[in-house]
């Protein structure tokens, strides 16, 4: 870090790229990239280290990778139950949100009706809903309804968590599809439903993908609600498993990092994959006017 900051002092008044300042900029960018990547790198690298090299006063950077930590992490009781629970609540919430939001956002983007403005405002406010400070009341409601440790309830809550954002984003995507395309379909003899399914929906595919990406991440990462609602081991998700892993395994950091990696990997992959395809699809799409 120290050698980088000295390079920074190179004069950079002139806006045109001048060699010394270009080098300084690039070094700064590299240093920043290292800072942002390091925790992620350290997670993966620690997860592949043998126990002896984790428990050393001086960190080991070169080692023979082993999958021992992963076998330990996945060998935990109920591991596959947690995986199944996480996948169920995430996929369930995202799917529900997409279906419900598609209908709602179509109405908001394409139709005129009383209360439209109020509804848009409500969606915006719901998007900012303070779920984190509502856990106590949710606990009491779930308890009164005998719904503690319920995967369906958790799915429903996550669905409502991601719904406002899904509506908000899809509304934008639908508005971006020129209304003329739809009108052309109507003139060609489609009814509104057909026009939507045949013309608008295909153009929305990238939008649906990037929207579901957000929903997926929110539901997969959610912690506060499942922490208070699902105390029963059988009903927990991977987030809870991960936070309790370290306590359960003492200072077995290798296995803990393997657990972290397993949890983070799907999100990292989905994030990189989905958003690239979403953007590519949109630019390559028919929205060229």
């Amino acid at each position: 870090m120290s050698n980088v900051s000295s390079d920074l002092r190179a004069p950079r008044r002139n806006r045109r790229p001048v060699r010394p300042s270009a080098i300084g900029k690039n070094l700064l960018a590299l240093a920043l990239a290292a800072v942002f990547l390091f925790p992620v790198y350290w997670m993966f690298s620690s997860s592949l280290k043998p126990q002896s090299e984790i428990l050393s006063k001086d960190p080991v950077f070169l080692f023979t990778p082993t999958l021992g930590n992963y076998t330990k992490a996945t060998g935990v009781d109920l591991f596959w139950t947690y995986v199944l629970n996480s996948v169920t609540v995430t996929v369930g919430a995202v799917f529900l949100a997409l279906v419900v939001a598609l209908a709602a956002s179509f109405a908001i983007a394409r139709m005129k009706f009383r209360g439209r403005k109020g509804l848009v405002l409500a969606v915006m406010m719901a998007q900012m809903a303070p779920w984190e400070v509502m856990v106590i009341v949710m606990y009491l409601i779930a308890r009164d309804g005998d719904m503690l440790n319920s995967i369906p309830l958790l799915t429903a809550i996550y669905f409502v968590m991601v719904l406002p954002f899904t509506i908000w984003t899809l509304r934008g995507f639908i508005a971006a599809v020129p209304v003329e395309l739809e009108e052309a379909a109507l003139i060609d003899g489609c009814n509104r439903g057909q026009a939507f399914i045949k013309v608008v929906f295909p153009l929305l595919a990238p939008g649906l993908m990037s929207t579901s990406l957000f929903g997926f991440i929110t539901a997969w990462n959610e912690f506060a609600m499942v922490l208070i609602l699902n105390k029963d081991k059988e009903a927990q998700t991977l987030t809870l498993w991960l936070t309790q892993f370290q306590t359960a395994f003492g200072s077995d950091w290798g296995a803990t990092m393997a657990a972290s990696s397993l949890f983070a990997l799907p999100v990292l992959v989905v994030f990189l994959f989905l958003q690239r395809r979403a953007v590519g699809g949109m630019t390559a799409g028919a929205v060229k006017g």
Binding site: R13, A126, M134, V137, M138, A175, Q275
Partner: protein, 342 residues
């Protein structure tokens, strides 16, 4: 490849800043629609035959929101006027407490300590996030293609990292015995880091939480800032250069005015997000040691789940929501202004 980072910036999380960046009517990543000639007023908003259909389409969304969001909020308010402890929880009887929960809280120095701590924590985080995030956004705009890609990928990776996983990693980085943070301090020749406990006090714990939150939040600001900068036409820069403006002058005269809505909206978003952050604080050290790193959401949770003061916890939650609503009203005013301009 630049589309890559721009798309992330605009498509994930929030589309508001994307819109702040200047293009009206265009949804997040619709870079293609720029070529569409825009009719003067609201393309796509054209009135179509109304009737019951819009309400039917909206019904599922409205009903689920009412049941799972509105009702709990109302119930939360009611709960804050009740006495709900361990006994009431078992007997399930309703004991009204009037304003007792609120008066207890507002005369409790511990509550005030937590409230002040929450505000300071939020302020420190938001200043760091916006400051460093904007600078990195500017840097991204000035880098060459390759370096920009490298830095964008690093930012996106940090951004995509699930919070629970990053908390776990940070605990490992700052582990007392084998953490790399202590090793770095020793290597830099700072004494006292043989087995330094980074979570020794509430303050120390919140400092680590701040590092975590800032690390995880900067990418959003930086990538959006960069996306915003790319929408500023080159002509503006050239005009400024021809007028002999220095880099600093260009920033204040050209960049800042165009991105002011972005700054404001993002700042408010960050304030809201940090203020209600629960996972980062709770998963790091469960509000400890000695409840000294509790922020308001964690305080509410522990008052309820740990101390069985559900009524008090509900009151804390209501007060927190009131503060959030106050902040949000500024945010919504900004957003609505944007909406109207479209």
């Amino acid at each position: 490849m630049t589309v890559h980072s721009q798309g992330v910036a605009a498509s994930a999380l929030e589309d508001a800043p994307g819109k702040a960046a200047g293009k009206s009517q265009t949804p997040p990543p619709a870079s293609g629609s720029r070529k569409v000639p825009q009719p003067p007023r609201g393309r796509g908003r054209r009135a179509l035959p109304a009737g019951l259909i819009p309400y039917l389409l909206l019904a599922p969304a409205v009903v689920s929101g009412a049941v799972l969001l509105l009702y709990p909020l109302v119930r939360n308010l009611i709960l804050s006027f009740q006495e709900v402890g361990r006994r009431e929880l078992i007997t399930r009887e309703t004991v009204w407490a009037g304003f007792a929960n609120y008066t207890d809280l507002l005369t409790d120095s511990e509550f005030w300590a937590v409230a002040v701590r929450s505000l300071l924590f939020t302020a420190a985080n938001v200043v760091l996030i916006m400051g460093i995030g904007s600078l990195i956004g500017i840097l991204l705009n000035r880098l060459g293609k390759k370096m920009r890609l490298v830095l964008s990928v690093a930012l996106v990776t940090a951004w995509a990292m699930p919070i629970v996983a990053s908390v776990t990693v940070f605990k490992w980085l700052f582990d007392e015995q084998f953490g790399i943070a202590n090793w770095i301090m020793r290597t830099l020749g700072v004494s006292g880091y043989e087995q330094h406990n980074w979570f020794e006090t509430g303050m120390a714990t919140l400092t680590i939480v701040t590092v975590l939150v800032v690390w995880g939040s900067i990418p959003f600001v930086a990538l959006n800032m960069y996306a915003g900068l790319t929408t500023i036409g080159n002509e503006l820069y050239e005009a400024a250069r021809m007028d002999g403006a220095t880099g600093w002058q260009t920033f204040w005269a050209v960049v800042f005015p165009s991105l002011k809505p972005f700054f404001l909206i993002t700042t408010f978003l960050e304030i809201i997000w940090v203020f209600k952050a629960f996972t980062q604080v709770y998963a790091m050290n469960a509000g400890g040691p000695d409840r000294e790193s509790e922020t308001l959401p964690v305080f509410a949770y522990i008052e309820g789940q740990g101390q069985f003061h559900y009524g008090v916890a509900a009151a804390v939650s209501v007060l927190t929501i009131v503060m959030l609503v106050a902040i949000m009203s500024f945010y919504f005013r900004l957003i609505l202004k944007q909406e109207e301009e479209q």
